[in-house]
C-alpha cells in the first residue's frame, strides 16, 4: 500500500480531544439517570467520564479510512480464492471441519458482540467509551460479515456449512459459546465490558485468533487466514479498550475493586471453558500443526496474562483462583474434548476421526506427562475397532454443566481418571456444574443460571423434534428427529471423516485439478 499522508492541521492528541469531547449534553426534559438507566445498578461508581482516553486516539474519520483499506485487501483475496479453486489448496480435507466449527461456533458470536457493543455504547454516559464502543460495534458486524463471505466459498463444495444461524440456537455444543455471550449480554454494561472487552478480548482472543489463524496459513487456507488477520487487526484496538476499561473503573473509585475482581474471576473461568473447543481444534483438527494447545496456553495465557496481572496488582487485583487448576488442565482438556466429540460424532455437524500414528507421536511429544499415560491406549482401541468396522458412537446424552453448558467431560483436579462434577441446591432443586469454577459462578447468581436453556434437558423434555413429531409412534428414532430439527443432513454432515462425502469429493476434485482426465 502506498498511502498519501497529508500534513495535518492538528496533532493526534488534539484531534482526539476535539472529536471525543463536548459532543454530549445534559438533558433537560428527563433526568440523566432516566436517560442512562443501566449506568448505576451494577454498583460501579464513576466520577469523571472525561478521564477515559483511548490510547490509540482513533477518531471516526481515521477509522473509516483504515477499515476501508482492510476491506479492500480482504475482498481482493477472497476473489482470488474463488477464482482459483482455493478450496483445493488446503493440506487435507479433515482441516475443513475446523472451519465448520469456526463458522457455526464463532462467527454468529461476532454478530452478538456487534449488538452488545452497540448497547454498551448506548448505555454509557461518557463520550470517550461511547465512541470506542461504536467503533467496536461496527468492527464486530464487519467480522461476522467477512467470515460468512469467506466461508461461503466452502459452502459451495462441502457439507456442514449450510445453516449456521439455525444451528447456533439449537445444537448441543453450540450452546457453549452461545451461552457465554448471552450471559454477558444479559448483564449490565460494565460487566459486559469485563466479560467481552477484558476477559474475552484481552486475555483470550490471542489464543483463538493468533495460533488458529497461523494454523490456517500452515494448512493452506488462504480465505480463513485473511479474514482472521483482518479481524485480528481490529482486536488490538478491542484489547486496548478492555484494558482501558478495567483501569478506568479501578481508578475512578476504590469501591469498584471487589466488583471488578468478582467479574474477572467469573469471566476468566467462563472464557477458559469456551476455549476447550479451540484447544481441540489446535491439537486434533489441524492436519498440519503449528503449536500445541499447551504451548499456545503458555505463551498467550501464562506469560502474557501473567504480565497483565502483575501490572493490575497495583490496583489490588489478584490472579483469579481458578488459574491454579488451569496449569493442570492445559495437559488434558484438548484430549478430553476430542474424545467426547469422537463419541458423539453422530450428533455433530462436522466429521471426527482418530489421529494416525504419526499424529499420536506428535501428541506424545507435546504432552509427555499425559498423552501416553491417559489417552493413547483408548484412542488406539477406538481406531482399531473402527478399522474392524465397529466405529463407536455413543447413543446416550451427557449431563451438561448448568453454567458453561459443556458436557461433564472434564476430570477431577488431581485425578484425571475420574469425571468431575459439583452439586448445588436452589429452591429445592438440584443443579450440577462441571467444576469448582462453574459451581462458584452458579452459587453467586443461581436465579440467573436456573434459567439456562440446556440442550440435553430440552431434548428429554421433547422440545427438540420437528413440529408434528409423534415420539410414541412405533420405531421412533429420537436421535434422527433431533438431527432433523437441527437441520443436519444425517449421514452427510456428521459421522466419521473416513467414508464421508467431503473426503471423496476433495480427493476427486484435487485429482481433477492435477490431471487432464
Amino acid at each position: 500500500m502506498d498511502m498519501n499522508v497529508k500534513k495535518k492541521k492538528l496533532g493526534l492528541k488534539e484531534k482526539y480531544a476535539h472529536m471525543t469531547r463536548g459532543l454530549d449534553w445534559e438533558t433537560s426534559y428527563q433526568p440523566m439517570e432516566k436517560v442512562f438507566p443501566q449506568a448505576t445498578f451494577e454498583g460501579i461508581k464513576i466520577h469523571d467520564w472525561d478521564k477515559w482516553e483511548d490510547p490509540f486516539r482513533l477518531t471516526m474519520d481515521a477509522y473509516w479510512k483504515y477499515q476501508a483499506e482492510k476491506e479492500r485487501k480482504l475482498y481482493a483475496v477472497l476473489d482470488a480464492f474463488a477464482q482459483n479453486n482455493g478450496h483445493l489448496g488446503i493440506t487435507d480435507a479433515r482441516y475443513l471441519n475446523a472451519v465448520k466449527l469456526f463458522l457455526t461456533g464463532i462467527s454468529p458470536l461476532e454478530y452478538v458482540a456487534h449488538r452488545g457493543f452497540a448497547a454498551a455504547g448506548r448505555n454509557f454516559p461518557g463520550v470517550g467509551p461511547r465512541v470506542a464502543c461504536l467503533m467496536q460495534s461496527v468492527d464486530e458486524i464487519r467480522h461476522a460479515q467477512t467470515q460468512i463471505h469467506a466461508i461461503s466459498n466452502y459452502n459451495k463444495h462441502y457439507d456442514g456449512f449450510h445453516d449456521f444461524k439455525h444451528m447456533l440456537e439449537r445444537v448441543w455444543y453450540l450452546s457453549v459459546p452461545k451461552s457465554f455471550f448471552d450471559d454477558a449480554f444479559s448483564a449490565g454494561p460494565f460487566e459486559w465490558m469485563i466479560a467481552i472487552g477484558f476477559s474475552f478480548e484481552y486475555v483470550l482472543t490471542n489464543l483463538l485468533f493468533v495460533p488458529f489463524m497461523s494454523g490456517a496459513a500452515y494448512n493452506g487456507d488462504m480465505a480463513t487466514v485473511t479474514f482472521g488477520f483482518s479481524a485480528q487487526s481490529d482486536e488490538a484496538r478491542h484489547m486496548t479498550l478492555g484494558l482501558e476499561c478495567i483501569k478506568f473503573m479501578l481508578e475512578q473509585d476504590p469501591d469498584n475493586l471487589p466488583i471488578v475482581q468478582k467479574w474477572i474471576d467469573k469471566w476468566a473461568w467462563r472464557g477458559i471453558r469456551v476455549l476447550s473447543l479451540v484447544g481441540m481444534m489446535m491439537d486434533y483438527m489441524l492436519p498440519k500443526r503449528v503449536m500445541s494447545w499447551k504451548e499456545a496456553w503458555e505463551i498467550y495465557f501464562e506469560q502474557n496474562g501473567g504480565a497483565l496481572f502483575n501490572d493490575l496488582a497495583k490496583y489490588g487485583i489478584k490472579v483469579p483462583d481458578c488459574l491454579t487448576q488451569c496449569s493442570e488442565d492445559k495437559e488434558h482438556i484438548s484430549h478430553q474434548a476430542w474424545a467426547t466429540f469422537y463419541q458423539y460424532g453422530g450428533a455433530a455437524a462436522f466429521h471426527t476421526w482418530m489421529p494416525n500414528d504419526e499424529e499420536m507421536d506428535w501428541l506424545s511429544a507435546k504432552y509427555p506427562n499425559t498423552f501416553d499415560k491417559y489417552y493413547r491406549a483408548r484412542f488406539t482401541y477406538w481406531r482399531d475397532e473402527a478399522e474392524k468396522g465397529n466405529r463407536f458412537y455413543t447413543n446416550t446424552l451427557p449431563m451438561l454443566c448448568q453454567v458453561c453448558q459443556i458436557p461433564m467431560l472434564f476430570t477431577e483436579p488431581g485425578d484425571p481418571t475420574k469425571i468431575c462434577y459439583r452439586e448445588s441446591e436452589y429452591e429445592g432443586e438440584k443443579y450440577h456444574t462441571c467444576s469448582d469454577g462453574c459451581k462458584h459462578i452458579f452459587d453467586d447468581e443461581p436465579e440467573k443460571y436456573v434459567q439456562s436453556w440446556l440442550p440435553v434437558h430440552q431434548i428429554y423434555q421433547g422440545n427438540c423434534f420437528p413440529e408434528g413429531t409423534d415420539p410414541t409412534a412405533e420405531g421412533f428414532d429420537p436421535l434422527a428427529a433431533v438431527l432433523d430439527w437441527y437441520h443436519f443432513n444425517n449421514g452427510k454432515d456428521n459421522l466419521d471423516f473416513e467414508g464421508s462425502r467431503d473426503q471423496a469429493n476433495f480427493a476427486a476434485w484435487r485429482g481433477m485439478a492435477t490431471k487432464n482426465t
Partner: protein
Amino acid sequence: MSKVFIAFQTNEDTRPIIEAVLADNPHAVANESPAMVKIDAEGQLVIKRASIEELIGRDFDLQELQINLITISGHLDEDDDEFKLSWLN
C-alpha cells in the same frame, strides 16, 4: 520485568516497519511464524515514525500500523511520532 509484544502480518508493508522496530529496540526479538512476525521485548517497545519514513522514503502515519497489526500486549501510548508499548512494573 514482563514482556510486551506486537505482531504483524508478514508482507511488504510490514517488512520496513519490522526492520525499523528492531533497529530502534536492540533488546527486541523477532519470532517468525506462518504468515506473521511477533516482536517480543522486555519492559517496553517503541515504534518511531521517523525511522519508518527513513526506510520507506515517504511520509508515514503511525495509524497505518493498524492495517497489518495482529495483536499487542502492554499499555499503549500513541501520538504523532511514537507508538509505545510498556508494562508499568
